[in-house]
Structures are given as structure tokens and as C-alpha cells.
């Protein structure tokens, strides 16, 4: 029997089936189950931009999207916000995107040949809401994109943020994500390495308390030679929170001399928290160096005792060790932004440990 599932009120409002646990890519992040209400789901998101001089913003018709959440975003966002970064562009100013508080948005940031851009995204809500962002970054030859993503939502917020990064030869991508989770959050990064000699550093950390959930999913499609990719995600989960990491390197036959490493390491600070991890390698090229690693554990008791023996109280010892563990993910970040992230992490830890 082939029956259409009954729509939830949210699905009725959004006009289609939402990702749920029976879909492999969404098995640990069940949007259908979390997104119960049928109101406030179809709003248009109006991001605020701080635009560096020389970069222009326009609005264009949205092209159809294939992913479930992308298709929903294009249905309700009405227009796509397109940011063009001209050839050879370089600036000390950061492109800052904020007010991503509710509704759907479709963004496209195009870096022309040799352009260098730092994008800072602030994903934040102070009241509960639903946010669905579909972003695209096109990097022409030799373009350099730095993406810094900060996420701190209201506990009841549901947020899906998907980024498609298409990179051509000699492009460089540096991405750092810091997330404190929400009712349901998914940061998905899909990178297509189309040209040769691309460098990508894709790092992140999540620190979760209460019943918060974050999903860091990435898919990197290697289709040309000599890419160098480093990925490291650190997780700290406590209370009844849940952290999800799904990472995939898909190395196609032409992608010879690929050098790629993926790591996910998580600390569980309570008996009731949860970590779900799925690191994957799918390799068709025969001359590559690819590795993946995944660890889940608790703070080392011997290290804690050693620190206490020196007079450091237990809470502070746990905080120091955890901070050091997480900080590793932000090693390659620029100094100012790094300090900001580390301060936010220590504030979070001090309030909890």
C-alpha cells in the first residue's frame, strides 16, 4: 500500500513533507517532529547587512532548489538576495549578516576572480521562532572566503541553515562555526570542489546544555586534483542535550592527490546527554591521503585530579580542560574573532561547570 503521510499543521502551512527521522540524512534531526505549530512559519526573513565598500547587493528571482528545505526557502523567500564581490576585491571591512531571526531567506554571495571576503554571520534569536536559510557561495578562481558563524538561539527556536559553496581552482575557504544549539538546529555545509588546488579549513564547535540540539552536517564533493581539506569539529554536551555530526568526503575519480582529514571529538558531561556521529569517506581516486577520526568521551579523571592537587577547584579544572579541548577547533582563526569566540566559550563554561 502506498499512502501519502498525514501532514502535520506545520507541513500543511509549508506545503510539503518536512525532513524526518526516516530520511537517512535527517535521521537524528527530525524537523517534522520538532516543528509542531502551524503559525509564523511562512514569514520572509529580512537580514541586515553591513556591506564593505565596493560590494553591491541586488535582488533576483530565485532559481528552483532541489533540497527539501531549499525548496521551502525558495517558495517563501520570494526573492534571492545576491551579493556581488568584484574581481580582485580586498577590504579590511567584514560583510556582516545579522537579524536572521525568523522566516525564510535565500542568499547568494558571488566572489569574482581573486576576490577576498570575510563574512560574519550572526544567527541569533531572543524569542522562539523558525528560521530557514538557504545560502550559496560561488568562488571564482583564486577567490578567498572566510566565514565566521556565531549561533546562539532561544531554547525554543528551530533553525535550518544550509550553505552551498561552489569553489573553482586555487580558491580558499576558511569556515569557523560556534553554536550553542536550540530546540533544533542544523548547520549544513555542502562544498563542491570544482577546480584544482583548493584549500579548505572547515572547523566548528558546539556546546550544548538543557535539551538543546545541534546538527553539524557537511558534505564535501572532491572532483578535481590536489585539494587540501582540514575539518575538525569539537562537541561539548551536557544535561539532556544532543549533538549530531555527519561528515562526508566524496572523492571522485579525477580528484587525485587529494589530502583530506576529518575529525569529530566530543565530550559528554552528563549521563543523559547524547552524541550521534557519522563520519564517512567515499573514495574513487587511487592516489589520495584521506583520514577520518571520531572520539567521544568524558574529561580525564587523572588530569582533573592533577589539577586539583595543584589547588585548582574542581569546577575550574573542568572548565579549563574543556575550554582547551574546544579551543583547538579555532586554532586557525584570525586573532580578534578567535578571542571573541573563546570569551563566549569561557562564559558559557563558567556558568555551567
Amino acid at each position: 500500500m502506498n499512502t501519502q503521510p498525514n501532514f502535520t499543521p506545520a507541513e500543511t502551512a509549508l506545503g510539503g513533507v518536512l525532513p524526518h527521522r526516516r530520511m537517512e540524512a535527517w535521521k537524528w534531526t527530525d524537523v517534522r517532529k520538532t516543528l509542531k505549530g502551524g503559525t509564523g512559519l511562512t514569514l520572509v526573513c529580512e537580514p541586515h547587512f553591513e556591506i564593505p565598500e565596493g560590494v553591491n547587493v541586488s535582488r533576483e528571482t530565485i532559481l528552483p532548489k532541489t533540497s527539501v528545505m531549499g525548496a521551502i526557502a525558495s517558495r517563501f523567500a520570494l526573492e534571492s538576495i545576491v551579493i556581488n564581490v568584484p574581481e580582485g576585491f580586498k577590504s579590511t571591512q567584514v560583510l556582516r549578516i545579522s537579524n536572521l531571526e525568523k522566516g525564510h531567506a535565500s542568499l547568494c554571495i558571488k566572489l569574482a576572480k581573486g576576490a577576498v571576503l570575510h563574512v560574519e554571520e550572526v544567527h541569533k534569536t531572543s524569542v522562539s521562532g523558525f528560521v530557514n536559510l538557504d545560502m550559496q557561495f560561488d568562488l571564482a578562481q583564486g577567490a578567498k572566503l572566510t566565514r565566521t558563524i556565531f549561533h546562539h538561539d532561544h531554547a525554543e527556536t528551530t533553525r535550518i541553515a544550509t550553505a552551498h559553496i561552489n569553489a573553482w581552482a586555487d580558491a580558499e575557504i576558511t569556515q569557523h562555526t560556534l553554536s550553542f544549539g536550540a530546540a533544533l538546529t542544523r548547520f549544513e555545509t555542502r562544498v563542491a570542489l570544482l577546480g584544482a588546488n583548493i584549500k579548505a579549513d572547515i572547523h566548528g564547535a558546539y556546546l550544548l546544555g538543557d535539551k538543546r540540539h545541534v546538527d553539524m552536517t557537511s558534505y564535501i564533493d572532491f572532483s578535481n586534483e590536489s585539494a587540501i581539506v582540514r575539518q575538525s569539529v569539537k562537541g561539548v554536551v551536557s544535561d539532556k542535550a544532543r549533538g549530531v555530526f555527519q561528515g562526508k568526503f566524496h572523492v571522485r575519480r579525477p580528484a587525485q592527490f587529494t589530502d583530506a582529514e576529518m575529525r569529530h571529538d566530543a565530550l559528554m558531561l552528563s549521563d543523559t546527554c547524547e552524541i550521534r556521529a557519522k563520519p564517512e569517506l567515499e573514495i574513487y581516486a587511487d592516489d589520495v591521503a584521506c583520514a577520518h577520526g571520531n572520539t567521544i568521551g568524558a574529561l580525564d579523571e587523572s588530569s582533573l585530579f592533577y589539577m586539583r592537587q595543584r589547588g585548582i577547584p574542581l569546577g575550574q579544572a573542568r572548565s579549563l580542560l574543556t575550554q582547551a579541548f574546544v579551543a583547538d577547533a579555532f586554532e586557525t582563526m584570525e586573532e580578534g574573532a578567535k578571542e571573541d569566540f573563546l570569551t563566549r566559550i569561557s562564559t558559557w563554561l563558567e556558568a555551567r561547570l
Binding site: R308, Q309, L314, A324
Partner: protein, 248 residues
């Protein structure tokens, strides 16, 4: 300074008794050495005195400066001056040595109700001690003990000890992993800390260390209790004749 009476401790949920009615007294100003065969309970004694989890004290008492030491948390024992130089110092990845030590020192000062040490004063003191111990400044910026050799880790323990200026020092096999030159440097550091208001307990397998740090008393620990005691010359006798006579 420290009075240990009939100390009995077990591990593995009481299945194994490691310390079995141990009596020992170390007065302020004295250095006592504890020697003994493998498995006698030497390291266990150091862990029980510093409060490591996994060791259950089933009988006896430890009085430290008039207080019940066993009732205190490990960090409170440290703040009151108990310091253990670990046999195997831990690596603390991601925490620079100086950050670690300044955090420890200021936590101890805070716990004693004293003002924290300012950064310039701390640096000045650290540089002077590091230079005495022939520790390169670059080691102090690296994460604590990460990638250090066995000897460097031991020297770092002495560095921490000299920075924290504890009152009662336990040294667990500090000589293992040290070459003769390093041993001399470490011993000089320890000897510099000898004072009328400080007590020390030196746990060692070999008499070698005691040539450099001459103890006031030497005890033999066997099967969880002190079975013989003597003066510094007693250690030489033990080295020559072995522990067979005292074996359980």
C-alpha cells in the same frame, strides 16, 4: 606536622588492602624517606594523602597541622600546603604551563584569603626559578608537560613546587627518569626549600637520590606498613642488602 595513625586503605571496592595499619610522623623541618619493594604501597600512600578517588580509607587517621586531612577535598589539601610531585606527571593539552600555574597559585591564594599575585610579580618569580632549574622559557609557554621528556616533566614538577611554596611535600619517585646532572639540579631545588617549617616525604626505590637530598629519617614500607626505620646511613644498608629481610 603530619601524624599518620593506623592508616588502612583499600582499592577495587575493598577487595584489595594496600595500606595496612601504617604509622608515621613527620615533624616540621624534617625530611623523611620511604623506601621499599615494588607493590609495598608507596604510591598509594601518596595518593591517599592527597585525596585521589578510588582509594577507600577504612581505618586510621591523618592529622595535618592539627586538622583532619582525610576530610578535605584534594584542592583544599593543596591550598593548605600539601604538594605531590607525581611519579608520572600528567600532560594537560591546550593549557599553557604558565596559565596553569598562575591559575593554581591564585586559586590557592584565594582559598587562603590572600590577594592574587600580579602578572609581573608572577613572571619575575617564574623566570628566576626556571633559570635556576635550567628550564627554557619556551617550555613555559607550551601546554603543560605535552611533548616533554620524562626528565623535563620531573623538572617541571620541581618548578611547580618552587612556585607554589608548599608546606608539606611528597615526592614520588622523583629520581626516576633523571640523569645525574638533572638529578643534581632537582636536588638543589629541593634542598633550597628545606626549612624549619616545612616537612618532606621522599618516596624512592633507590638510595641514589638520598645522596643528594640527605634525609633525617629513613623508613621501610612493606606490605602496607612501616616495618623498620633508621637514619640516613640506614638507606645505604638497605641499598646493599635489599629488602628481603623485610618482605612480608
Amino acid at each position: 606536622m603530619i601524624k599518620i595513625k593506623n592508616l588502612t586503605a583499600t582499592v577495587n571496592d575493598g577487595q584489595q588492602t594496600i595500606l595496612n595499619g601504617l604509622d608515621l610522623e613527620v615533624p616540621a623541618g624534617e625530611v623523611h624517606a620511604i623506601m621499599g619493594p615494588n607493590g609495598a604501597g608507596k604510591s598509594t600512600l601518596s595518593y591517599v594523602l592527597t585525596g585521589k578517588d578510588g582509594y577507600d580509607v577504612t581505618d586510621g587517621s591523618v592529622e595535618y597541622l592539627g586538622e583532619d586531612l582525610l576530610a578535605m577535598e584534594p584542592e583544599d589539601r593543596a591550598s593548605k600546603g600539601v604538594f605531590l610531585s607525581f611519579q608520572y606527571p600528567l600532560e594537560i593539552p591546550g593549557v599553557p604551563t604558565m596559565t596553569f600555574l598562575r591559575t593554581a597559585l591564585n586559586a590557592q591564594l584565594k582559598s587562603r584569603g590572600e590577594d592574587p599575585m600580579t602578572a609581573p610579580d608572577f613572571l619575575k618569580k617564574a623566570r628566576a626559578i626556571a633559570s635556576d632549574l635550567k628550564i627554557k622559557p619556551d617550555m613555559l609557554r607550551r601546554p603543560l608537560n605535552v611533548g616533554f621528556s620524562g626528565g623535563e616533566k620531573k623538572r617541571m614538577e620541581i618548578f611547580q613546587m618552587m612556585m607554589l611554596e608548599p608546606k608539606f611535600i611528597i615526592m614520588d619517585e622523583t629520581d626516576s627518569g633523571l640523569d645525574v646532572d638533572a638529578l643534581r639540579i632537582v636536588a638543589d631545588g629541593v634542598n633550597a626549600l628545606r626549612s624549619p617549617d616545612r616537612g618532606m616525604l621522599i618516596i624512592t626505590h633507590y638510595q641514589r637520590l638520598l645522596d643528594y637530598i640527605v634525609p633525617d629519617r629513613v623508613h621501610v614500607l612493606s606490605a602496607g606498613k612501616i616495618v623498620a626505620s633508621g637514619d640516613a646511613d640506614f638507606a645505604k644498608k638497605l641499598e646493599k642488602e635489599g629488602y628481603d629481610e623485610y618482605a612480608a
